[in-house]
Amino acid sequence: MSQHQQTYHRFSIGQRVEHGLLILSFTVLTITGLPQMYPDHMWGDLMIQAFGGIESTRVIHRIAAILLMIETIYHGGVITYKLFVQRVRLTMMPSWQDVKDGFQSLGYNLWLAKTPPKMGRYNFGEKLEYWAVIWGTVIMIITGFMLWNPIATTNLLPGQAIPAAKAAHGGEALLAVLSIVIWHMYHVHIRMFNRSMFTGRLSRHAMEEEHALELAEIESGQAPPPTPAVEVRRRQWIFYPVAVVITAVLLVGLYLFVTFEQTAITTVPRQDVEVFVPPARSP
């Protein structure tokens, strides 16, 4: 009984806040971005109107993009801290085992495998999603920069890069949205309602099903020995100054990203033309 109600720590507060920021920025980017891809559809038209017209839709999209980029910088800092200071295991690293797990899982669904795979802290589905977000965000930031700063971009790249970036930005967006809707929604909302991203804890049942190896590890008490506090402090002394500098540089970069260029004049100048000019005639 108690075993069934037992929950296991899964996500820290920081991770949950990060996820919240991601939900917010991703959702806003989606609902302001997709209508821009399909303005000729009625729903696109209506959504753009709901955001107060195309220009304000673009502004909202860009504000959400700034939020996503801040989150990306922060996430980079957190990962670096974990890797350098905490020296945690690389549980999110994809491996050959994940490919095998994926096929075994699919095989089980098709009655080709007898049992579903037993998986670790992050299973193949979660890794796929995490790296898809990383990949997608990088693509979106790069192509987004190109669309935001086309003149700066064409200083380095041929002009065609801009429409190509637009194509990639749209294609990648569509891919990301469809992945979230199909993959993410299914796995954490439909298959079972996984509240761990909000409560921080996962039920034993879900642990058994999705993270059997991790559960076994926890229950066997095979936690790695904690790093001595002195060592942690030494690493922090190195990490924090470097992190502050790098974060500052990135934030400056972000500021430049946003304000890099004035792409176009805000109003097309009105050309005054003398209208009433009867032809000159000899009297």
Partner: protein
């Protein structure tokens, strides 16, 4: 016995003989009872050198009758039936002999009475002498004899031969207070078909013939208060040859318009014409504008709502009225030939028309009367011409260009791509402009429309060396809105090409990449999710079964 006088037979015989003698002496010709009047008796006294009658007013009147003239007149030997003195001087006791005193107090009354004599036979007198009858003050108006003469009655034929002479007996000068010596000019030029009466008739309203009678003859100009001169001449042939002449339209015959169909306000255009209030020729033109309204109501209203109508209303007197574009009496089909349209606009907008003429559209119009190229009105509208500087016009303009440039049938003739509109709308500029057009048509946007790049009236073919959009000039064109644009920047515009391996291959490949990647990945996800749903459903049922007792 009569009184104290005893009648004797000899006296009686003497009296009877004397009376008989007198009768035969005075009326010697009276031999036939059918002869109605004793003409000879009248003529016996009323000979050329007869006495004068003195009227109570002191005016004198000759009692002599020009018998020779009478004989030569229409009532004389040329008459189909002999007219005797008593045919006219009949029915009243005073013409009997001995004559009673003439009741006329003056010469005028005397003449007026004579008219009654004529009316015994010429009952059409009421419609006759009409101009004069319209005069309110009847004193001094001429009676029959004033124009036709008394005994020397002139035939209407003879009078028509010299109408002026007839009228001139009273109207010695033809001075019109309104048009000065215009009247004299008309009179000088009167044709054989026309007479004073042509204008001065009794018709209740002025009529075509009246108008044309004067205005076709007039060659002089009317001087306005401003000193400007306006033509008074109207050539009836010009009107007949205009759209308002008799014409066949789609098998239906339309009658020619009368002058008064347009110039209908009798107070303004009735005859004699009132003093003109317009001080300048322009004022006169504007004043005439509403003439068209009566028939062309809808178009007139559209024109009034258009930029010209509004400007006119706001006091811009140079703004075009109906007649400025269509002409007045010489109105022809406004778009026949098509180049006529731009020539008409050039009357006020000459510099713009010069630009247009040098453009690809204008050159084709002038050179070959091309039926496809837009003339001014195709883009600007006809009567309800809008202000082309508004946000609305700007936002709608791509659709305007697209109406022709997305028309495959039309563009095929010239080998022009019809992708231009779609590729524009697919691009950043076009997408934005379309959205503004749909959602905020009154708001300005800084995104380019067709004419920002291609030019407005001076559009050249995209491969013309002077074209704003040829590769060599494109950077300068982009820099109008993107001042910092560099040499690579123009290539970020896909030049209206749909991405392909030939044009913008990178864009094409990126699109292709996602066109493959998205279905493969999403299909894979869907496959996994679908099988997972089935398997979990299966497992659950089996578990439930196995947990049953």
């Amino acid at each position: 016995v009569i009184g104290s006088y005893r009648l004797r037979p000899t006296w009686g015989l003497f009296m009877a003989l004397s009376l008989a003698l007198l009768w035969f002496c005075v009326v010697p010709e009276r031999v036939d009872a059918s002869v109605p009047a004793p003409d000879s008796a009248c003529k016996l006294c009323h000979v050329g050198n007869a006495k004068e009658l003195v009227l109570p007013s002191g005016e004198t009147l000759s009692l002599g009758v020009g018998l020779e003239e009478l004989q030569q007149s229409v009532h004389g030997m040329h008459a189909t039936e002999q007219v005797y003195c008593v045919d006219c001087h009949a029915g009243r006791r005073r013409y009997r002999f001995p004559h009673e005193a003439n009741p006329a107090q003056n010469l005028q009354e005397f003449r007026a009475n004579i008219a009654q004599n004529c009316e015994q036979c010429h009952v059409s007198g009421a419609v006759h002498n009409p101009g004069h009858l319209q005069v309110e003050d009847k004193t001094g108006i001429p009676t029959c004899a004033d124009c036709h003469g008394g005994h020397a009655v002139a035939s209407s034929k003879a009078m028509a031969a010299d109408p002026v002479g007839t009228c001139q007996s009273c109207h010695q000068t033809f001075e019109d207070p309104h048009v000065g010596d215009v009247h004299a000019e008309v009179v000088m030029n009167l044709g054989s078909e026309q007479s004073c009466e042509t204008c001065h008739s009794a018709l209740p309203q002025a009529e075509d013939t009246q108008c044309k009678a004067c205005h076709s003859l007039l060659t002089s100009q009317l001087t306005l208060i401003s000193g400007q001169k306006v033509d008074l001449h109207v050539n009836p042939d010009v009107i007949a040859g205009s759209v308002h002449g008799e014409r066949q339209v789609q098998g239906q015959l339309y009658q020619a318009l009368q002058c008064t169909d347009c110039h209908r306000d009798q107070g303004r255009y009735g005859f004699p014409h009132p003093e003109l209030t317009a001080e300048t020729a322009r004022e006169l033109t504007i004043d005439m504008e509403n003439l068209c309204q009566e028939c062309h109501q809808e178009i007139f209203q559209r024109q009034a709502d258009g930029i010209h109508g509004i400007a006119l209303e706001e006091g811009e007197v140079n703004s075009a009225t109906c007649a400025d574009c269509h002409g007045n009496h010489d109105i022809q089909d406004p778009d026949e030939p098509r180049a006529r349209v731009s020539h008409t606009c050039a009357e006020c907008h000459s510099t713009i028309q010069e630009q247009y003429t040098s453009s690809v559209h204008g050159a084709a119009l002038e050179g070959e009367n091309n039926p496809d190229v837009p003339v001014c009105t195709d883009c600007h509208g006809v009567h309800d011409i809008g202000d082309p500087t508004t946000a609305e016009f700007r936002l709608k303009s791509p659709q305007l260009c697209g109406d022709c440039h997305a028309n495959e049938q039309m563009m095929a003739k010239y080998g022009i791509s019809t992708d231009v509109f779609d590729t524009y709308v697919a691009d950043f500029h076009g997408t934005t402009v379309r959205l503004f057009e749909k959602q905020a048509p009154d708001q300005q946007t800084n995104k380019a429309v067709c004419y920002d790049c291609h030019g407005v009236h001076n559009i050249l073919p995209a491969n013309d060396t002077h074209s704003q959009v040829i590769k060599e000039n494109l950077l300068v064109t982009c820099q109008q809105c993107h001042p910092d644009a560099n040499a690579n920047f123009p290539a970020s515009w896909t030049s209206h090409f749909k991405p392909s391996m030939e044009h913008n291959p990178v864009v094409y490949l990126v699109n292709l990449f996602y066109q493959i990647l998205i279905p493969v990945l999403v299909g894979g996800f869907a496959l996994y999710v679908g099988t997972d749903v089935l398997r979990r459903w299966w497992d659950r049922i089996r578990r439930r079964k196995s947990s049953l007792p």
